[in-house]
């Protein structure tokens, strides 16, 4: 039944959110972000998240490129700058686990520890991928809820 679909989807969304918070993938800052969304900016959260992934993917490419340079050319200062950016934007969207990995990564960079940085980068890429997949799933469910509601309450002209 159409009504149950929307309710079922909402239950799925709540379960997914609970999972993301329980696993520490997201923190309460994500809820702050959701509270900024209103009828004037109905897609605010997904827009910000899209900007985040667009920027963070660039940062990951830059970090990978910096760490695969010859030792003599390796700039830990540049790595630190990229990581400050990553920490800042991850904190702002509530991406807790990604943020924490960046903090550990920055500590390795501050100690000029190339091996530690490479290890951190692998973990960061993995966590970033998990975050992207889970948020994509969340937004897909949200879209389905909107569609289900539209079908249930069609606008009659």
């Amino acid at each position: 039944m159409l009504g149950l679909d929307a309710d079922q989807l909402r239950a799925d969304m709540n379960r997914l959110l609970a999972f993301l918070f329980h696993q520490g993938i997201l923190d309460e800052q994500f809820l702050q972000l959701q509270q900024l969304q209103d009828e004037n900016s109905p897609n605010f959260v997904s827009e910000v998240v899209n900007i985040y992934f667009h920027e963070s993917e660039k940062l990951l490419r830059n970090l990978r490129s910096l760490l695969t340079m010859d030792r003599e050319l390796l700039s830990f200062d540049k790595i630190g700058i990229h990581l400050n950016q990553f920490i800042g934007s991850s904190s702002s969207i509530g991406a807790q686990r990604v943020r924490n990995i960046c903090v550990a990564f920055r500590a390795a960079s501050d100690n000029n520890n190339r091996t530690g940085c490479l290890r951190s980068l692998e973990v960061l890429e993995h966590e970033h991928c998990i975050l992207k997949n889970k948020l994509h799933e969340l937004f897909q469910i949200e879209q389905q809820i909107l569609l289900a509601a539209a079908v249930r309450y069609p606008v009659l002209n």
């Binding site: 972000l33 700058i81 950016q85 800042g88």
Partner: protein, 117 residues
Amino acid sequence: MTALVVDDNMVNRTIHHQLLDNLGIENVAVGNGKEAVDIHCSGKAFDLILMDMDMPIMNGIEATRKLREMGIRSMIAGVSTRSMEQEIREFIEAGLDDYQEKPLTVSKLISIIRKIN
């Protein structure tokens, strides 16, 4: 009330802009300290400046110092991920009226605004 958001990070600029918008505060965003100084040189003035610390070209510490030297008396609130006392102290001594650790939330922003009022 008007505000200037100074942050090189697009995610943060977008969020801070929305936070201010939702509170009915007209606001403009720039990407580094030099742009913050330039916009003041062009004659614009703001009640509140949200200043990030780590930015290219001119960072938040230099920009704050420069704005104070120019005689800008707006409320300048430093907003950064930095948490070490020494780093924050340098930022505050540059001329901040307040400092909040990122992420900026509605309640943190309201506490900054209360200081203006």
